[in-house]
Assembly symmetry: C2
Homo-oligomer: 468 residues x 2
């Protein structure tokens, strides 16, 4: 009987454990998780802080008891793995009661990522938060609850123009204009906080097209979020608690700071065991997610993945990839070698009343990858022009000029007008390597309540092909 | 200077005319349209009857004046083409003022389709309507306006349980449970009519999967539409005006009947000129939409198209194909030979508060086409389980059992939960001929407000691959 040991009990780890055990019930599957939460949806934390989700338990898709009792997985929470020894094929885990040593035949390193804490003076003052873990979520929600006069969050509805009202809570600030930054701007504004968002670069959501960033920025400002672009935060000033954000130009009083400046892979444990990292700084693997050490796999937010267009390793730590690669590893270990599949760098985000998605290589990425890109942004109605509801879908599409191959795109629309689901067509186009002419001939679903006769994605393909 | 003559001024005809003239300004482009309306969105007629669109003019995307003045197209409305002579390369058109003969170098037959009127006794009584043309729309709206107590339609909101209320208008009936049938059930119920819908077959929306049909049926019944399946209408009884629908079993009093039992291609003009029809009864063309007669093209609702999976000619008269093929013909005639592209048999529909889409070959179609299909229906949440909004997406997916190739699918969800836009991923899968395993590895956009980590389409692919 062979033993599959998993280090880390979130998406990649639990997907691998579950799939391996289901496909090979004879396998011993042991999961070490240093915390108490497993298989939780960290993507839902902003909505918990916002108050739309009432309990952290709601974020858990499968409970520890279910893993243990229904799936027959030896799940050990509160076990911090401190050493991997590939020679003896053992891992050492530290618990309250001391250390245990566990042998493995197959090992999965799924240690995840950790929020980057930038080198800013005062970042360790109280009142400075990150949002990477369930306990971060608890702390932030407690802060929000305390600050609200009723002390409780109940499906909040935001009042108007909080930035300018005496009754606003805060002010609070967010450092970083990525996913977490814009989602938390929504969560805090919905709770009547005056929100200041600081971004070092010249736009928010820099992974998306410039047109998408501009649309989201305009919307954030409409929602009375004070956005500071091209702004370096020099200090989080105060005494014990943070009292102000100090930039090159200004000193903005705040009573809370959320730092959302990205994540980095948690690789120290693997590195110490001799696992090689890739150029991105995350763990390098082959197409089966196996590392340089035999029978040692890595997946999820600690590992690289290959890009569908370039075939090159990239680091894009997102939930679907973790699930997908975890599941593939489970199949492989159960005796059915399965590639986890490549990624397209697809991502989606909601910010207040807009939604955005991106996939593939955008213009500058295509250029860096050696293509000669051509890019166009178009605005299209989201439903038939005469249909009583609807808005605008803005599509930025990038293709390779000589061949016409679709390389990537970025879409933004009002929330509910389908930028995200419409991006699904582009994911396929990018993955299959089809041309603009082929994409513009796609027989996409049409009816007046859903799109114009040519869906915005088709229009973008047609226009870009015309410009090529 | 050569002359391009178009017969029929709707989607296919005006797309071809516009594109040809734009790409080759030296071309003479003459369009004959027997009515007064051109380039109108017949798909919007149910929403005009419903009262959500206030004027038929709103359905027109480009006016006759714009075609004439801005696009320099010689558009002749009120011209009924009565003869095509391929020997002399002329068409004869009848107008109020007599007949004119027009020479052509290239000719496009875009004569559209006509509503099928079934052989039912009494179908010519007053109070019996179809919905194929703008004038049909006008008549139906006038009926609805008269019947409503205020005599006017103003963004109607439907009251509860009209079927059982004294205040209901009607009763009215719909013969046929296809797109027009379910859209018009919504339009009439929204105006407080008691609606009876008769369907000869055993389900509504028979082009969709059985699971989709069942979901839509249940919803129609929830909305108090009385649906009669497996029911043949024997007579529309009455005196001058219709007074009752008579079936094998019952006599249901009604004051109006809408017949929506499909369309057939308008081919008589082309046939008389020697244009060959295909087995479907629509005009046969090659991949450039050219008929058996040299320089005579056909497109839109009068013509066949090739299916992306089978390569066989099919008759699926829908707006996007008309636009797409018209545009391709315009390019070809302007000197840039362009295939119009194949179709996937994609379609979408909204009925009250549900939406549905289908594409490719469903189970029985796949079997008829010689595949050994495997089909599964799954229910998936439309957004993350913990997200406060959301519903269910029901996906029926069909693949070829031996190869795993994705052949088609049918999706249904609450309106706004994305069944239609999510079908875009399936259109790509069907068009590119990828396998279930490949589809389930697609890096589709995920965030909690938009889907579960595995989008419902991915889940369906995973489940079906597991069953294969």
């Amino acid at each position: 009987m062979s033993t599959f040991v998993v280090v880390g009990g979130d998406a990649a780890g639990m997907s691998a454990a579950s799939k391996a055990k289901r496909d090979d019930p004879d396998l011993d599957v042991v999961v070490f998780e240093r915390g108490q939460w497993v298989s939780y949806g960290a993507c839902g934390l902003p909505y918990y802080v916002k108050g739309e989700i009432q309990s952290l338990d709601d974020l858990v898709s499968v409970t520890p008891e279910q893993f243990r009792e229904q799936r027959d997985i030896d799940l050990r929470t509160g076990h911090d793995v401190v050493d991997i020894d590939p020679t003896t094929r053992t891992v050492t885990a530290r618990t309250d009661g001391g250390e245990i040593v566990q042998e493995y035949d197959h090992l999965l390193v799924a240690t995840g990522a950790t929020a980057v804490t930038p080198q800013i003076d005062g970042v360790d003052r109280t009142g400075v938060y990150t949002l990477g873990s369930m306990s971060d979520g608890t702390e932030l929600r407690e802060y929000v609850s305390r600050a609200r006069s009723d002390g409780d969050l109940q499906q909040p509805d935001r009042g108007p123009a909080c930035q300018f009202l005496e009754t606003c809570k805060g002010p609070v600030s967010i450092v970083g204009g990525g996913y977490i930054g814009v989602e938390m701007a929504e969560a805090l504004a919905a709770n009547e906080f005056e929100v200041h968002l600081f971004q070092r670069g010249d736009r928010v959501l820099k992974q998306f097209s410039e047109a998408t960033s501009e649309t989201v920025l305009a919307h954030l400002e409409e929602q009375d979020v004070a956005v500071y672009l091209d702004t370096e935060v020099k200090e989080l000033a105060g005494n014990e608690a943070v009292e102000a954000v100090v930039t090159t130009d200004e000193r903005i009083p705040v009573e809370m700071v959320l730092v959302g400046t990205g994540v980095r892979p948690r690789t120290a444990l693997a590195e110490a065991a001799g696992v090689e990292l890739g150029e991105t700084g995350a763990i390098a693997t082959d197409r089966y997610r196996e590392t340089n050490l035999p029978d040692v796999y890595a997946a999820g937010d600690c590992a690289e993945a290959e890009h569908v267009v370039t075939g090159e390793p990239v680091y894009v730590p997102l939930a679907l990839t973790a699930n997908r690669h975890g599941r593939a590893i489970g199949r492989t270990i159960a005796g059915n070698p399965t590639e986890g599949g490549r990624i397209a760098g697809t991502a989606a985000v909601k910010a207040f009343h807009v939604e955005a998605a991106r996939t593939g290589l955008l213009d500058h990425e295509a250029r860096e990858a050696g293509f000669d890109p051509i890019t166009e942004t178009i605005d299209s109605k989201s439903r038939a022009g005469y249909y009583p509801e609807g808005g605008t879908v803005r599509v930025t599409l990038t293709a390779d000029r000589p061949s016409g191959r679709v390389l990537g795109g970025s879409l933004v629309s009002e929330y509910g007008e389908g930028a995200v689901h419409r991006s699904h067509a582009l994911v396929g186009a990018v993955t299959e390597g089809i041309t603009l002419a082929e994409l513009s001939d796609y027989d996409l679903a049409y009816a007046p309540p859903f799109n114009t006769t040519w869906d915005p994605v088709l229009t973008a393909a047609k226009v870009l092909e015309g410009n090529r």
